[in-house]
């Protein structure tokens, strides 16, 4: 068993965790987190693929590593946009709800 394989299997398990999170989340924030956990697992499998592809003097295949960097930035953009939508939506709902509904918040 090599390290790359171990992380590949861990990535598969993380994908499972992410799917569980997406299926059981009760709110949008939970789903956003589930999506991020899932994405982390997918990237980790890609990292294992890269490590397996070590050759030509490189300790890993640089192409998947570069793709993962792009992927992480895109995943961040997605998280940020989803969070912004969620925050805006909940402020609107809080304002629309009758004033007495907000009492128990504190």
């Amino acid at each position: 068993m090599t390290g790359a394989l171990l992380f590949g299997l861990a990535g598969a398990a993380l994908v499972g965790c992410g799917v569980y999170g997406l299926l059981t989340a009760s709110g949008a924030l939970g789903r956003i987190l589930g999506f991020n956990v899932l994405g982390g697992g997918v990237f980790l499998i890609f990292g294992a693929v890269a490590r397996r592809g070590a050759a030509a003097g490189f300790s890993a295949d640089p192409v998947p590593q570069a793709l993962v960097i792009t992927g992480i930035v895109v995943a961040f953009c997605a998280t940020a946009l989803a969070v912004a939508l969620l925050v805006r939506l909940s402020t609107m709902e809080a304002r629309a709800a009758p004033a007495d509904a907000g009492e128990k918040e504190t």
């Binding site: 997918v42 890609f46 997605a78 946009l81 989803a82 939508l85 609107m92 709902e93 629309a96």
Partner: protein, 501 residues
């Protein structure tokens, strides 16, 4: 190497600079100019394809795949790009600040009161769509899909109402789930083959390598694309998002945005996957498509809001493309080619007619102040051109001649009957009847005598004419000969032949 392919991806982006730095007025003009340039560029590419009889390609940075990324336009890409560019330009014209918009207080103006943001998103859509139609690398296609998502989601909630925000959030979450599934498939493909270039992969897959993992990777990518294309049963996000958006946004979302993942689904299964695998997967897609046509068609019949009705109709019409998969993947060359042409023509004519219908519905809602079907009787008097555009667009959905929908459905039907797929033929016919039901219901209501006094408002005539032009476009597609179109087969099967040293 054809420089036009690079321009198709980059030219729309150039319009972002004036939009973001200068005021909306200057930016709007620049954006419309760039959308016109985009149409010219795509027309140029189509011309190159037709003249050359082969697919032009481009290696970005001069690095040939598999190290670099390549762009390539075959007949299918060129047709889709031309359709998308046309719809985007006409929708852009519809949404521009026209004479009278500044003085009159029009509630639902084309760009929802945010012209700068609207046109930034529209131009980004043009870039993302062209990239999705041209890119030949699975990861570049992932970037294209993300670009598409990030341009489409804010379009849904431009007006900032709570319902729109929640529809946009649901849309975003579905799209992200789709991207991550797609990416997982890409990762497995890279692990198996060490390349993401479609032409190379097609060659490797045809040799039968990859086995079950390759099939799983294709299935994951397809599931991701289905979520993004709102294919039954992953369609739940579509009706609220498409019906809640401002009219011009709904039009592009329904007409062209969901076409990119559908196009990639076709690319994946007709160009990348080996034929035996496609013959296994085809019926699964067809079942999803049939369920979409029947289920969403029935739900559309029951809608009380005009825009929701059109949105459900979109979810139903997506199904027709999926019926194409088993028909086009058969060993029978003649009839599979007919199904292939029929499916493509359906994509094009649906885009034109659906854009027309959403724009018309937006004008009708603006004229009446609401879009409840029960209160629309007599709207034909106030908004005759809009109602005409809606009806003509509906003609194509119903599949009545002369319309693109008619030609496409006849081709699918013929292919299905010749290949003995009776159930597919039945679904095609049933879908037409359902579409007839919901389109005629609207038209009949619109032409009725008004129940009560009509409001003073009149439709915005020049905008209605744009909707009508789109509907006429869908009709014109109907004058195609009822035979396989050779143009769509230019450049298939995929290869970099002629470009590689």
């Amino acid at each position: 190497m054809s420089a036009l392919l690079v321009l198709a991806v980059t030219a729309p982006l150039l319009g972002l600079v004036p939009l973001f730095l200068l005021g909306p007025r200057t930016g709007e003009r620049a954006a419309l100019a760039m959308l016109a340039v985009n149409l010219a560029v795509t027309a140029g590419i189509a011309e190159q394809v037709a003249q050359g009889g082969r697919a032009p390609g481009y290696f970005v940075g001069g690095f040939a795949p598999p190290l670099g990324v390549g762009l390539r336009a075959d007949g299918f890409s060129a047709a889709m790009m031309l359709m998308a560019a046309l719809v985007l330009l006409l929708t852009g014209l519809f949404a521009m600040t026209g004479p009278g918009d500044m003085t009159r207080k029009v509630k639902a103006r084309g760009s929802a009161g945010r012209p700068a943001t609207f046109f930034i998103l529209l131009l980004s859509l043009a870039c993302a769509l062209n990239l999705a139609f041209l890119a030949q690398d699975l990861f570049t296609l992932y970037v294209a899909l993300e670009l598409l998502t990030f341009a489409a989601v804010p379009l849904v909630c431009l007006e900032g109402k709570a319902g729109q925000l929640s529809a946009a959030l649901t849309y975003l979450l579905f799209a992200l789930f789709g991207s991550v599934l797609y990416l997982l498939g890409v990762v497995l493909v890279y692990g198996l083959f060490g390349t993401l270039d479609i032409a190379h992969l097609a060659g490797l897959l045809a040799q039968g390598t990859g086995g079950a993992t390759a099939a799983a990777a294709l299935a994951l990518m397809s599931a991701g694309l289905m979520a993004k294309a709102a294919l039954f049963p992953l369609h739940l996000w579509l009706p609220p998002a498409h019906s809640g958006a401002p009219p011009a946004a709904s039009a592009v979302l329904s007409a062209v945005v969901i076409k990119a993942p559908l196009f990639l689904l076709v690319r994946l299964w007709s160009d990348l996957a080996p034929l035996p695998l496609t013959q296994v997967a085809g019926p699964i897609f067809a079942v999803c498509g049939a369920a979409a046509i029947v289920f969403c068609g029935v739900v559309a019949l029951a809608q009380e809001r005009l825009k929701l009705l059109i949105a459900y109709s979109t979810a139903a019409q997506i199904g027709y493309l999926c019926l194409m998969f088993p028909l086009a993947a058969s060993d029978d060359g003649q009839w599979s080619a007919l199904a292939w042409t029929g499916g493509t023509l359906h994509l094009v004519s649906h885009a034109l007619s659906k854009a027309a219908m959403f724009l018309a519905a937006g004008l009708i809602a603006e004229t009446m102040g609401h879009d409840r079907l029960s209160g629309l009787s007599g709207v034909g008097r106030l908004a005759p051109v809009s109602v005409a555009a809606f009806g003509l667009g509906g003609l194509s959905l119903m599949g009545l001649p002369p319309s693109g929908g008619f030609v496409a459905k006849v081709m699918l039907l013929t292919s299905a009957l010749q290949q003995g797929s009776w159930w597919i033929a039945t679904v095609v016919l049933a879908g037409g009847l359902l579409a007839g039901g919901y389109v005629l219901r609207v038209v009949v209501i619109a032409l009725q005598h008004p129940d009560a006094g009509l409001p003073e408002a009149r439709e915005c005539r020049w905008r209605a004419l744009i909707a009508l032009a789109l509907a006429f476009g869908a009709m014109l597609v109907g004058f195609m000969p009822l035979a396989p179109l050779p143009f769509l087969d230019i450049g298939r099967p995929l290869s970099w032949e002629g470009l590689l040293p």
